[in-house]
Assembly symmetry: C2
Homo-oligomer: 326 residues x 2
């Protein structure tokens, strides 16, 4: 990067932004689970390990869910076993119930992630039980995790809105986070399941949670369904949030809704953070290479933009085909 | 919108944001010009008039450029003649030279837009002359416009970076804007031709121009090439900028680079502004309908997200196929 641009970044770092952010890669779980075609275990492990090699500090590697519910992740234990532990990346897994918690503990995950929806109808639809029943079940999971010395994070789906109920009350989110804290969890992730988060809602949730559960680390998990995923990250950074989830290439789009993107894209997120002078420890060029290979692996175009355009200062030769179509 | 959400927007309107923004639709010019297949004049006029009907207050309708250079816009005069003047929308056109200025004046455009690149190599590549020669040419255009009583806006391409020269100095942008002001132009548009703008660079340019040319209205024109187009808008809003250019559906992607998006998408922009409590006067639902029809018209998938996902609070029936793939 030119000195001039670096100086500009230094001078105009947006107000409130943290110096450093932890990017949590969720593609191997939230992305791969949405892929209908079987991805061989060795391929999954290879992607996980290349992401670790690129400097990603934390990954949601898989989900210890019923193989019947999510056949794509039936190799959860094998993928965990193949993951590179040498670089100290934190390897987490989604855990839907006690059975999953035991499998995750056996696989020596660094943290378990449990999840419940902020809206009753979405929770019923998603896991076929009430929110109260989900929260009850977390007690058992937390007991198993405690026994194994493994911390637990709680994730709240539909935290910014529900596809069935529309707006979701801040209080519903705060109440669930309070239960997480009482159960001894160490963090709360706000999931924007169907892309309904907006900057004012991000500000609202972050401030409410900081006040109500100050001991829980807040992570934000946005989908780019309505094109404003990274704007929501920006709003979260303004509130001093330091943990964001994303998927390489923007994996996680619903294969049944072509063009509708899923998770915000890790390379685009890291590109934005780099551009704003926020450290991630992640090698953007390496990430772009992985995203391109993941695209080949799953055989469809991914929504990531930086993986197509390349880094910002990759200049073209002057005799190249005109680049300025627009 | 629920009262709760409206109250949240009111409470958490981001710092510095203006109450109202003027969205300038550039799809009929910057978008259509990138389409290889001929779009019949009546179709172009119909799209322009539906956009006006949706409440778009200003449109870059066409370009009075040589039909040899841009065959798609050879019907510039006819499209202007067919545009609906009854709603008071401001109709502008791009004007590359004196000949174009005379044609634009004859077509009674409400404003002419001239353009030059901030970087010498891009200007040479784009219009085959030096920046100095481009600026010299604007004197004639401005004289013709003055004679016709038509205001002139100046646009600066590669204002945030150049594909051939990488970073562009703030001073290059400021100097050109100074010439615009001396020539009597009323506004300056910063064009992010190949998607190199970042939030700190937006802050830098906006502050430098406000100091150097306080009488020029600043407009921002971002491309979403690296996924951060709307984040750049957000940074501009924070600086109090009130004029943004965008293209319906995200038109303007280079057809030779599949998947690489062009202009930021008008519906996604209006969705974000609505979500932040910034007035535009534009009907989002109408815009979504137009974007979907434009997609059909040009026969390829457009990058707009809201046109696929629908408005935020469009709830699904509970018996719908599970929407939460991710």
């Amino acid at each position: 990067m030119h000195d001039g641009a670096a100086a500009t970044i230094g001078r105009y770092r947006p107000t409130g932004f943290p110096d450093r952010v932890r990017v949590i890669e969720v593609g191997p779980r939230d992305g791969f689970q949405a892929e209908a075609g079987w991805i061989p275990t060795a391929r999954k492990t290879a992607i996980v390990n290349r992401l670790i090699g690129a400097g990603v500090p934390q990954l949601e590697v898989t989900s210890f869910v019923s193989p019947r519910a999510v056949p794509q992740l039936r190799d959860a234990a094998e993928v965990m076993a193949g993951a590179d532990r040498s670089r100290g990346a934190r390897l987490t897994a989604l855990v839907p119930n006690a059975r999953g918690a035991e499998a995750a503990a056996a696989a020596r995950v660094d943290a378990m992630v449990v999840f419940v929806s902020a809206s009753e109808s979405h929770n019923l639809k998603n896991v076929n039980r009430s929110r109260a029943d989900s929260l009850d079940g977390f007690e058992t999971v937390c007991a198993i995790a405690r026994e194994a010395g493994i911390p637990v994070h709680g994730a709240i789906a539909t935290a910014f809105g529900c596809p069935f109920e529309a707006d979701v009350a801040t209080e519903a989110v705060v109440e669930i986070a309070g239960t997480f804290a009482r159960l001894g969890m160490i963090g709360v992730t706000l999931g924007d399941t169907t892309g309904m988060a907006t900057p004012p809602l991000v500000t609202d949730r972050c401030r409410a949670l900081k006040a109500a559960v100050p001991d829980l680390e807040i992570s934000l998990h946005f989908h780019n369904t309505r094109g404003v995923g990274l704007v929501n990250v920006y709003a979260g950074l303004t509130e001093g949030i330091t943990t964001f989830e994303s998927a390489v290439g923007g994996l996680g789009g619903c294969p049944f809704a072509p063009g509708a993107t899923g998770n915000i894209c890790t390379e685009d997120l890291v590109y934005l953070l780099d551009a704003c002078g926020v450290e991630t420890g992640i090698d953007l060029d390496a990430l772009i290479g992985i995203a391109r290979d993941v695209e080949t692996l799953i055989g469809r175009t991914l929504p990531g933009q930086v993986m197509k355009a390349g880094p910002r200062l990759a200049t073209s030769p002057l005799d190249a085909v005109a680049t300025a179509c627009g």
